[in-house]
């Protein structure tokens, strides 16, 4: 019986790890539904981008208030996880605060730092709940934010608040137990949780131990449960932001990814020697993107990294003038479709062949046609997500596979083909402007 808590702990950790591993494997497969990406060049620049943008939160600080609050939660997440290490060792070894005797006074200092961060996280989460639900900051609303995304956002904040309360409750009761039970190591006062002590004063030692144990278990099981929840949630950015920024587009934003398949065909049409033309032409799957597997895996990873903050949509000229396009929705739809396909494959279902597709069932032509390719969404994203790349790939599909671009665009294509200008002017008139040079008075 003595080892029961340790066995229970081990089983809980094992179950959680199993589900977490399964989920991560699934997400990995979903991401790699996408086509290969060549983004492994310039590694030092990529590490630097990751350090600045993800680790250093560089782009968050364009908006100071949310950046500050977010930074507190972020620091809390990074630092408080150190405490989880002690939780795990204690849980497995049956010890209590195993580091306390070794670290002495420094242990109290550490716990006080953790407690400070716990309070900071609490404060920030409450502030974020206020921003979402009372101040109703505009970018948190929108067509795509109804139901689950809004609930998801609030749930994350509430869960974090509850988890932080569990830590503080645990520490407050711990202080009262110290000296009354040998299992509990002696420490100095924990500053923040001492404010909760009056709530528990007067309770019997056994009640206190029950509360302390309950809080301990609640916190560690809560963290494990939350970790699994996160993989289904927009909150996945806490992990994905790092690889996502590593695989950032390092080219000038104005440059659109080339299509080498087309280059070969065009070279043949122009009677030029295509590179590697001795080899048989590769099987061309599809021009542009109709479904998630036509995108690059970096596009899909972008979608899994999106935390739906709406900075992109709030900067989008099409969205702010009432058009249906919302860059955030493009990312959410891409993730939803990847999840749908993945879930179907998991069950041995039809996967991509389910008769649905990203373009058509999730994203409409009206949305992608409204994009001005201004890159405001890309610039606004705190973790370098690129909704524009997905939009342009879909336009390629519509234009080249379906020949279903808007009529005026088809007219423009025709003008370029026949008169080498998007407008219908005679190519022989192209140099007429020079005749006006000396007509004008100065």
């Amino acid at each position: 019986m003595e080892f029961l808590p340790q066995i229970a702990f081990l089983i809980i950790v094992a179950i959680a790890s199993f589900f977490l591993f399964k989920r991560i494997t699934r997400i990995r497969k979903n991401i790699f539904l996408g086509k290969p990406s060549g983004r492994t060049d310039r590694p030092s620049e990529r590490w630097k981008t990751m350090l600045l943008v993800a680790f250093g939160q560089q782009k968050m600080f364009k908006r100071v208030v949310p950046a500050f609050l977010h930074f507190l939660i972020y620091a809390g997440f990074l630092v408080i996880n150190l405490e989880v290490l002690e939780f795990v060792i204690d849980g497995l070894a049956g010890t209590h605060r195993i580091f306390a005797p070794f670290l002495g006074d420094f242990y109290t200092v550490l716990i006080n730092v953790f407690e400070f961060l716990a309070v900071a996280v609490l404060f920030s989460c409450v502030a974020f709940l206020v921003r979402r639900n009372i101040m109703k900051v505009k970018r948190f609303s929108g067509e795509e934010m109804r139901k689950w995304p809004t609930l998801d956002a609030n749930l994350i904040l509430v869960i974090e608040i509850v988890l932080m309360f569990a830590i503080l409750t645990m520490n407050a009761t711990d202080m009262l137990i110290q000296g009354q039970d040998d299992h509990y190591a002696q420490t100095s006062t924990f500053f923040f949780s001492s404010f909760l002590v009056p709530l528990f004063e007067g309770m019997s030692v056994s009640t206190l131990i029950f509360v302390e144990r309950f809080a301990w278990w609640f916190h560690i099981v809560g963290i494990l449960g939350f970790a699994i929840y996160v993989t289904y949630s927009k909150h996945l950015h806490i992990a994905m932001a790092f690889p996502n920024t590593w695989y950032s587009n390092l080219e000038e934003k104005g440059k659109i990814e080339n299509m080498p398949v087309v280059t070969n065909e065009v070279k043949m049409m122009l009677g030029m020697q295509a590179e590697g033309s001795n080899e048989p032409p590769a099987e061309i799957a599809r021009f542009g993107a109709k479904d998630v597997n036509d995108l690059s895996w970096v596009n899909i990873m972008n979608a899994y990294s999106c935390t739906e903050c709406g900075r992109c949509t709030s900067q989008c000229p099409a969205n702010m003038t009432g058009k249906k396009l919302s860059p955030r929705k493009i990312m959410m739809a891409t993730r939803d479709r990847a999840e749908e396909v993945g879930a179907s494959l998991e069950k041995g279902g039809k996967g991509l062949e389910d008769g649905k597709s990203l373009l058509g069932d999730y994203i409409t032509k009206e949305e992608i046609n409204a994009c001005t390719s201004c890159n405001a969404c890309v610039e606004a994203c705190p973790i370098n997500i690129d909704p524009l790349a997905i939009i342009l790939e879909m336009r390629r599909y519509v234009s080249m596979e379906e020949s279903a671009a808007p009529a005026s665009w088809n007219g423009m294509f025709q003008n370029i083909e026949t008169s080498f200008s998007p407008w219908k002017f005679a190519p022989t008139d192209r140099f007429k402007w020079a005749e006006d040079l000396n007509k004008e008075s100065k």
């Binding site: 021009f287 234009s399 671009a405 007429k432 006006d436």
Partner: protein, 265 residues
């Protein structure tokens, strides 16, 4: 200026004479055909003539870079345009290109290299900035625009697309004018609404046109001149100013026009 007749040398003529110019001026379709933007082309030509730089244009041999086709999804058409343009440019052994269109600039600079076209490409705002730094134009002080309120509208294809924010502003500073910024400027600059091939179709249903939103912002600054560096922005902002009935008090001008006027050209 004197009554001296200005002529615009073409690459064909120069090559026939066995000369090769220092820089090719890529005029672009708007600069060649759009009545308003032809004035910008002329202004820039006058500046080129004044500073005595050796330049040429392609004339009738120039063709659309393919930018709108690529952005509208027609990769075939884009690459056809690009390949044949590269053949022409390489045929004349062109090394350096200047253009007054950010869309041509972006395509030539960023997208042609992968198709085999490698040139030093600069936008005319950078080119003008260099001329100013070299003391070849501007910096007279007390010019036509001294003390006038000018606001600069960032072109997306110059700004976010290529990180050029300072060159156009430095050009404006040389006018000794009062440069006033719009609420959304530089990295946060609002698009005029014409990029991504939107210039060539009607906007999707919504509750406002993007150019109206942007024009309102420009007018809020109280500037009399909206400076632009892009033919599409020029069209969109002028339409916006017109629809606000402000064309008598607010003018949309290109950077080259401002410099040419300041120089008395």
């Amino acid at each position: 200026m004197s009554d001296q007749q200005l002529t615009v040398p073409t690459m064909a003529e120069m090559t026939a004479k066995g000369e090769s110019p220092e820089v090719l001026f890529w005029v672009g379709c708007a600069g060649s055909f759009d009545d308003r933007y032809k004035k910008v082309t002329l202004a820039f030509i006058k500046i080129l003539n004044k500073v005595g730089i050796s330049y040429a244009v392609l004339g009738e041999e120039e063709a659309c870079t393919g930018d709108p086709a690529r952005r509208a999804g027609n990769e075939f058409l884009f690459q056809m345009q690009a390949m044949s343009n590269i053949q022409v440019l390489d045929g004349y052994n062109v090394k350096k290109i200047v253009t007054a269109c950010p869309h041509c600039f972006n395509t030539l600079k960023n997208e042609y290299p992968e198709l085999g076209g490698n040139y030093e490409v600069i936008h005319h705002s950078t080119f003008l900035q260099q001329l100013i730094n070299e003391g070849k134009v501007g910096l007279k002080g007390g010019g036509e625009f001294k003390g006038k309120k000018i606001t600069y509208h960032d072109s997306c294809y110059l700004g976010r697309a290529n990180n050029i924010y300072d060159a156009p502003r430095e050009v404006l500073e040389a006018l000794d004018a009062e440069l006033v910024e719009m609420k959304r400027c530089r990295t946060k600059g609002l698009c005029c609404g014409a990029g991504g091939a939107q210039m060539f179709k009607d906007a999707e249903a919504g509750d406002k046109e993007v150019n109206i939103e942007r024009t309102e912002e420009a007018l809020e600054t109280g500037a009399n001149i909206i400076a632009a560096g892009c033919p599409f922005c020029m069209t969109m902002m002028r339409d916006g100013v017109k629809s606000k009935n402000k064309e008598d008090s607010v003018e949309v001008m290109d950077l080259a026009e401002l410099i040419a006027k300041n120089e008395g050209l």
